[in-house]
Symmetry: C2
Subunit: 155 residues, 2 copies
Amino acid sequence: MSPKTMRYPYDPEQSASNLIHRLGRLIRQGAAQYLVDQGAGVTPEQWGLLVKLAASLGATQVSLADPLLKDHANITRMLDGLQRRGLIRRRPNPGDRRSHHIHLTDAGREFVDDLLPGVLEQKARWFEGMNQAQLDQLVELLKLLEANIRDADND
Amino acid sequence: MSPKTMRYPYDPEQSASNLIHRLGRLIRQGAAQYLVDQGAGVTPEQWGLLVKLAASLGATQVSLADPLLKDHANITRMLDGLQRRGLIRRRPNPGDRRSHHIHLTDAGREFVDDLLPGVLEQKARWFEGMNQAQLDQLVELLKLLEANIRDADND
DNA sequence: TGACAAAAATAGCCTAGGCAATAAAATATG
DNA sequence: CATATTTTATTGCCTAGGCTATTTTTGTCA
């Protein structure tokens, strides 16, 4: 066969998977810009950890990483950054000397309390062109897709 | 105020923006795994460039980067990798001595032709739990969201 | 024309992501 | 109990992403 002149009958840029991947970067970038504008001095990923820590006191690094599907090594590095900024503290876990309990410092908690409302507002702005039914449907489809991909890759 | 014990009334992990961001990583990782299994020796991002090049002969680096919302510096690096593997070639652009025309080599074209069917099959597997109407709706919502975010961030 | 702004590609820097490897501690198993 | 396996955190390595220069051309416009 001579496929040298073959044209592929789909537009990769409009495929759902590429849309999602591109949108993920766009969202990350928008969040990063917002944090810079606020002078926050943390990355969106570090922010995500802080919010999670605000809701789960004394988490270990594994319990932070796994629900977010993040690499343990990366969690180590992001926590290093947050610790340098004085926003979190690692404490020994009395029940297991391999692991630590991660805590927000007072400064960390204040940081989250100060920034969270604005972050939620910005998210809301992104979804302005969408009514609640559409948003619900989007979330539902995304969850379905996430489950699909997790299954498909565990074969 | 004493928000130390305040609980935030939303679950960040289930928010649409975080779902999308996480799903983007999951998709990227699945694609990477597939390419490794096939012994392709390219990253998903490099693969994306190859597919785009297969459809647009003689593109400049800007014309590759902008539709994908990618940084020009990254395009340079990814093309370096593809060039080292002999899959693409940079040619001088006679009309503008600042830029290059990027071409697939014969090996590059063969590479895309060989791998593309399998890639499409794998994508199809990811979307198996979803009927066509759901898929269409998902794509539509994602496009709407992308437009929203691009607008919102250009204020 | 000649200075000046804009565009194309690139390099440098830092963080995230994902992988392999390692050290230390905990758990399982014969 | 002794040995092996698993788990937790960490480091090293490489690529992508996103920024800021920097260089070379091109385009503008006074």
